[in-house]
Symmetry: none
Subunit: 133 residues, 4 copies
DNA sequence: GTGGTCTAGACCACG
DNA sequence: GTGGTCTAGACCACA
């Protein structure tokens, strides 16, 4: 199965689906052009309602991660090789990074350890392919 | 004012308060033993319901960041110098890091840029004091 | 009642709600800061499901027309006095204008008549207030 | 190729075809009596299902823009010189204009700018020929 | 077959 | 009290 979710998590299911898809793209399991399962198919696989999958896909579409086609379903629209982020992206992203790192700092995680783990996560992602000519 | 919040954000207010307090500790503005404003005081300053502040403080307490005494109010319980994180902390924290980084990767932010910003955020925090003897 | 919808139209109800709200703002019936009815209240007034209103409000929020606050509900975020459109707006808007005008042209409406009606519609809108200092 | 469509747009393909044909007539690229490509030909050119083209042509026929003969295929039935619009046309058309202009107003586009763009679009259309005697 | 819309109702999170 | 989430099922639009 492509992705797993935790029904008991306090993170909404549609958000978990979004996160798992984004991670799958970063990992290289999905890449630009890859097809996602149909909403009803994925809903059946995860034993959840198809509206919830719908909401997740709609969110991914609004974030320009996938495109949705009536005929062919959901398709990955961008991956790491699809070009640099839009101008406003970092402004939204870095504050969240700051909050996450602050949490680690307060709980006593060493800055070197934070950096080490950061590098480790980045290394676990798929190497960036060259931008297609 | 110690912390500012955005009433129109989609992030719940109590969560914003938690985040700001955590960041203030990481920044060194608050340290172990520092007193937080009283719930009613902070609620008045932020023009919000004091139950909301209560909820934020309770969350911080459950996360071992502050302790709450009836007499002395809310006091910072730990900062970066208060010792290493508990055993389960990284298991909860790193997946969130992974999700955040995956988002950056998918939107095309260069891994070097991610690392650069990570180091920048860590540098903006207060240097670790020695653990008090 | 603030707005009326046509259940028999082929235009989706949530879209009609969006259109009516946008028109009410252009007409000056609603302005920046005006509160919209709560989702469940409006749903009851229109005798439709609250999820449909929810979808309409969410669409308006994504288009920066309203902001939604858990406490105070939906509030108008921008009107004609809220500053010029974002850079991409005209690129999305003018093609739709072109299609609409082409339809008029093909059906034989005189260009002068088109312009006359255009001016008439614009005159029916509220005069632009000065941007608040 | 006469017309181009965007398979990823949220606008249905049959609607896009209709729009492009109407615009081609307004532009003067097609005029009364011009033949449209056969459904199968156009479907092949656009790499879409020919039923979709059928649906678009049927819509144009119902809107009195083309007529369809088994023998001669689809032929443009009217253009700007084919006489004034029917009595109900403006009643259907102007509300859509109102909605479109309201959107521009709410997003802060200046009324003068709206009129300027309106005139620009009309100028880009083919000049009206005299009605053939 | 695909996704989109609307209805209906339960339950929760937030303030 | 507000909006948000999830479930469930019917029906429609599109290709």
């Amino acid at each position: 199965m492509l992705l797993t979710i935790d029904l008991d998590s306090d993170v909404p299911i549609y958000q978990q689906i979004r996160d798992r898809v984004v991670e799958a793209i970063a990992d290289g399991e999905l890449r630009e052009g890859s097809a996602l399962p149909s909403t009803r198919q994925l809903a059946a696989d995860l034993a959840i309602n198809f509206h919830t999958v719908n909401k997740a896909y709609d969110l991914l579409r609004r974030q320009n991660v996938i495109r949705i086609n009536r005929k062919s379903g959901a398709v990955v629209r961008r991956d790491a090789a699809s070009g640099p982020p839009g101008p406003g992206f970092a402004d939204d992203w870095e504050p969240r990074l700051r909050t996450l790192f602050a949490e680690a700092a307060v709980h006593g995680m060493d800055p070197q350890e934070v950096l080490r783990r950061s590098a480790g996560v980045l290394d676990s992602f798929a190497p960036r392919r060259e931008t297609p000519v």
